[in-house]
């Protein structure tokens, strides 16, 4: 049977308490797929030790020795969750890659549902969307929503609200995106450079670590750093707004100059104070011109930045093998759960 290979990628920073259970759940899922005759194989579970601060490294070494499909990749220092995820993706060879957190917030049993949604809708990226309060804290959940809303507004990227670290990615797209991701780019934005075929699936997710300790791994400064990366990686459309304001100011100053010239010729007596208007028009015109030129320069810079960051001219994707899964799922009973949401596709 022609099987679709699935890899999982998990960045590890302080997973000593949860890694064993996560691997156990992955193993259970792996065996269930095999037992149920799914045309799927969980071929590898890649754990990226991001210079972990607890016993995670030793636990991973032990797990890798016990389970041949568990692979531990050790980073030389702490690079952060996104670079660790990128490293894991670049070590994978699956047709699909599921990225999961280490803290059991993302249960492996949901991977199949995400995968099913992806192939049935022709998506390359399927994000999990929390059904209800992930943190069981009104403040934390609302601040997370507002944060994403603000970032959507600032970047002009409607997909920002869908971003979630629990995702299923088409392997070729994920590896291509990972290979152009630098330390300062936001992986999900880069994924959007390669595919706009994405959607979300509402799932019951809980941040158990936050619920237990009421403390998030995401500090205020980490969120600021994330926001900065997101803005730097995004197409800086708001720069165009500056240029457009500049052009508007120039047009306004020219129109006003023509109007005042007409007034001067028709009703010379109506102008009492001489000189102020020419000064005003000069400021508006040259201020507008400066804004416009600055906008143009920033557009050039933005284009160069995105080019240096690796935004592709094109990328080729092969979705033909999805048919294997689609046919299999079509033979199964319709699955229960909330309906998925394709996210809007912003213009390139």
């Amino acid at each position: 049977m022609d099987r679709i290979l699935v890899s999982t990628v998990t960045p590890v920073y302080q997973g000593a308490a949860t890694l064993e259970e996560l691997v156990r759940q992955l193993d259970r899922e792996r065996q269930a797929w095999d037992r149920d005759g799914l045309p799927l194989e969980l071929v590898e579970a890649i754990f990226v030790d991001d210079d972990s601060i607890d016993d995670s490294a030793a636990i991973l070494a032990d797990l890798a020795a016990r389970y041949p499909w568990v692979r531990a990749v050790t980073l030389s220092r702490n690079f952060g969750q996104h670079p660790a995820t990128v490293a894991g993706i670049l070590h994978s060879s699956g047709d699909w890659i599921a990225t999961l957190d280490e803290d059991l917030q993302h249960e492996p049993r949901f991977v199949l549902q995400l995968l099913r949604e992806a192939v049935e809708h022709g998506w390359d990226i399927a994000y999990a969307k929390p059904l209800d309060h992930v943190h069981e804290s009104l403040f934390r959940d609302q601040s997370s929503r507002i944060y994403k809303w603000l970032l959507t507004l600032a970047t002009g990227n409607p997909n920002v609200r869908a971003f979630n670290s629990f995702r299923v990615l088409r392997g070729s797209v994920a590896r291509a995106a990972a290979s152009v991701s630098s330390h300062d780019t936001y992986l999900d934005v880069v994924l959007g450079w390669f595919s706009r075929h994405l959607g979300t699936l509402p799932l019951a997710l809980k941040d158990q670590r936050y619920v237990a300790r009421q403390a998030s791994g995401y500090t205020f400064f980490k969120l600021l750093s994330h926001a900065r990366k997101l803005l730097v990686s995004s197409q800086t459309k708001w720069l165009r707004l500056g240029a457009m304001v500049g052009v508007g100011a120039m047009v306004f100053s020219i129109a006003l100059a023509l109007y005042m010239l007409g007034q001067k010729l028709s009703y010379p007596a109506s102008i009492d104070v001489r000189g102020w208007l020419s000064l005003f028009l000069g400021i508006v015109f040259f201020g507008g011109l400066s804004s416009f030129l600055l906008g143009v320069v920033l557009e050039y810079l933005s284009t160069l930045l995105l080019q240096s960051q690796g935004k592709p001219t094109f990328f080729v994707v092969d979705r033909t093998r999805d048919a294997i899964l689609r046919e299999f799922f079509a033979r199964q009973a319709p699955h229960a759960g909330a309906s998925p949401t394709p996210t809007p596709r912003p213009a390139a």
């Binding site: 699956g94 070729s172 590896r175």
Partner: protein
């Protein structure tokens, strides 16, 4: 082919003599093996061996066997290591082309077997460089449970070579190295691998034809790393109990897209490429790290590409 004599040591021997090495094939990998041995003080001596003329090859192999036997009977070396790094066949080769290569291999293996039988006092080891791509074409995450499934004559050739060696009843130590996609400095007049070609053409603004897709996965290893491992095997680890087959891979797949991006950023130029999908060897082939042997260390792709780029710049500036 080359016979590599161990370094001479002045004064009474304080350690066991090093083996004599017979290297068949001095292409991309053969040159790397030669350089690794020369780096350890070995002295290469070329001997003529035809790859096209069967009868001539037989006569030349008789001469080589006599020469090796005479050296083994002398005082210096204590053992003989034969390394098969030869082969002009590739993924696009026909059955007829691979058949000729298999015959040459069998003749060299017969030479090793007769030498081992006639010199029981000198341990003889045979080291065969094989191909993961040929044996497991289109397979991903190849591990201990994977069995070869050849898709073309090239894979069949590699499988037969392995089978012949493993089936030998001569007192030979047998070692097979299954390699993924190797790359390294191109020997003079030799074939360039994909990465060397990308760098070479990129520096000259030429188009490179790639067999595969942007998403095609490969596992690239540096010839120097293979040579170091093999030479340590020949010189230091012979006689130690270990499995006869060693898989040498990076254990980290790299897509063509990743490779292009890496080469572009290393050489600082855009690459012009043309893709051919329908040809041979365009499928993914990757290896699980669990298959890799102890002592094997593969340098990162980024490091190796930078080394190759530096070598290419050095070659270009020296003419």
């Amino acid at each position: 082919m080359l016979v590599l004599h161990p370094p001479r040591r002045p004064g009474p021997p304080r350690e066991p003599p090093r083996p004599l090495v017979a290297l068949f094939g001095v292409g991309l990998l053969g040159c790397a093996v030669r350089d690794a041995l020369v780096g350890r003080g070995y002295r290469p001596r070329p001997l003529a061996l035809s790859w096209d003329d069967g009868p001539l090859q037989r006569r030349q192999l008789d001469t080589i066997a006599a020469s090796l036997g005479a050296t083994l009977e002398g005082s210096a070396p204590g053992a003989l290591g034969l390394v098969w790094a030869a082969g002009r066949a590739g993924f696009a080769s026909s059955q007829a082309e691979t058949a000729g290569e298999l015959e040459s291999f069998q003749r060299v293996l017969a030479l090793a077997e007769s030498t081992a039988r006639s010199h029981p006092e000198a341990p003889v080891s045979f080291h065969l460089l094989s191909s993961i791509g040929g044996l497991f074409e289109g397979r991903r995450a190849i591990d201990h449970d994977s069995t070869p499934t050849v898709l073309r004559p090239y894979g069949d050739l590699k499988l037969r070579q392995e089978e012949r060696l493993l089936a030998s009843d001569a007192p030979l130590e047998r070692r097979i190295y299954r390699l993924t996609s190797v790359f390294g400095p191109t020997p003079r007049g030799g074939r360039r691998g994909l990465i060397a070609t990308l760098i070479h053409n990129g520096l000259r603004h030429r188009v490179t034809r790639i067999v595969g897709r942007l998403s095609t996965l490969r596992d690239f290893i540096w010839t120097g790393d293979v040579a170091s491992y093999l030479v340590a095997d020949v010189l230091e680890r012979c006689g130690q109990p270990r499995p006869p087959i060693a898989t040498l891979a990076a254990g980290k797949p790299a897509s063509i897209h990743e490779l292009l991006r890496l080469v572009e950023s290393t050489i600082g130029r855009r690459l012009y490429v043309q893709f051919d999908f329908g040809l041979a060897n365009s499928m993914d082939t990757t290896v699980s790290p669990s298959l890799l042997p102890a002592h094997w260390r593969a340098r990162s792709l980024g490091t190796a590409v930078r080394q190759l780029h530096r070598a290419a710049l050095g070659a270009a500036s020296s003419g």
